[in-house]
């Protein structure tokens, strides 16, 4: 049964290579996108941390995005 699944009556090379290419490309694209997002989050959180206490307080109070990114960054530390 497994050899049938692999060979697919002689079409296995075409079918498996199509699926493999699709999923390798999709996985690579997913990890690249995720890595870029994490990089931006990290850099943004660091920039907030470098602000003066007063500025940091204003930014975190005013911006939901900043406070979310900053709190999730602190959790990971």
């Amino acid at each position: 049964m497994i050899s049938n699944l692999i060979s697919m009556n002689g079409y296995g090379i075409f079918v498996w290579s199509s699926f493999a290419i699709t999923f390798i490309v999709c996985a690579a694209f997913y990890f690249k996108t995720r890595k870029t997002l994490k990089k931006y989050e990290k850099e943004f959180a660091k920039e907030i941390e470098e602000l003066s206490i007063k500025q940091k307080k204003i930014v975190l109070e005013k911006s939901k995005v900043a406070s979310k990114v900053f709190s999730s960054y602190n959790k990971t530390l």
Binding site: L5, M8, N9, G10, Y11, G12, F14, V15, S17, S18, F19, I21, T22, V25, C26, F29, Y30, T33, R34, T36, L37, Y40, E41, E43, F44, E47, I48, L51, Q55, V59, S63, K64, V65, A66, K68, V69
Partner: protein, 235 residues
């Protein structure tokens, strides 16, 4: 109402949606792969090579739908200059390019056992290559031109021109003599595909859509953070 669509509110929703998609994605992918590779029947004429359809067709649909979406949003953005639309366009373009390339490559692999060749300059394949080129040009414009307004204007014009290619792709198999078979699934009219193949195809399409949504949301989130970083630097 408009406050609901502010970047801050959207950002919170994006996080929730990403978590939700992550929680269901792998179970659905496993089910779709089981149907596509094991449970669905082979074709009476093409045999098991028909299974390539389960990645080729959804990828082509997404490539076409993404460009239609991108072009219409670009035209709207050109007229009304809505900042969120720019973010959406920037997030859609790479997804469309990836899936158009997947459709071309898997179609080429499918071509060998069915037509006896990996490549033919037939109308459907050539128009799909042109679509990939349009995606590539739009992404390059957004990357190379640093002035955002100028980049948006030029890419909107390119996208509007590229929109002409969409009906050409759709009807190429009817207008010209092509190696590519005509559509088996029709929104209006009777489809010629059996339910035992249609169901796995739709399931795989749904999984691809979830994947696109996941990538789109992550890219959109990145763009929001990029904007917020710019405004932080102005402090």
């Amino acid at each position: 109402m408009f406050n609901f669509f502010s970047n801050s509110n959207v950002f919170v929703w994006i996080e929730k949606l990403i978590n939700f998609i992550h929680s269901i994605f792998f179970a659905l992918l496993l089910a779709a792969l089981s149907f596509a590779l094991i449970l669905s029947p082979p074709d009476y004429l093409q045999g098991d090579s028909v299974r390539i359809m389960y990645v080729h067709v959804p990828a082509a649909w997404i490539g076409l739908a993404s460009f239609t979406c991108l072009a219409l949003l670009s035209i709207l953005n050109f007229i009304f200059k809505i900042k969120n639309l720019t973010l959406i366009i920037k997030s859609i373009a790479p997804i469309g390019l990836i899936f158009t390339c997947i459709a071309i490559v898997t179609g080429s692999i499918w071509g060998q056992p069915t037509w006896g060749t990996f490549w033919a300059w037939d109308a459907r394949i050539t128009s799909m290559v042109i679509l990939a080129l349009f995606y590539f040009i739009i992404i390059t414009i957004q990357k190379l031109i640093s002035e955002e307004d100028k980049a948006n204007k030029i890419s909107s014009i390119v996208a509007a021109i590229g929109l002409i290619n969409i009906p050409i792709i759709k009807y190429s198999v009817e207008w010209w003599n092509t190696l590519h078979q005509p559509a088996s699934i029709k929104i209006t009219g009777e489809s010629t595909i059996h339910t035992s193949m249609l169901m796995p195809l739709l399931l795989m399409f749904f999984v691809f859509i979830l994947y696109c949504a996941l990538i789109f949301l992550m890219k959109y989130k990145t763009e929001i953070i990029r904007i917020k970083r710019k405004s932080l630097k102005r402090l």
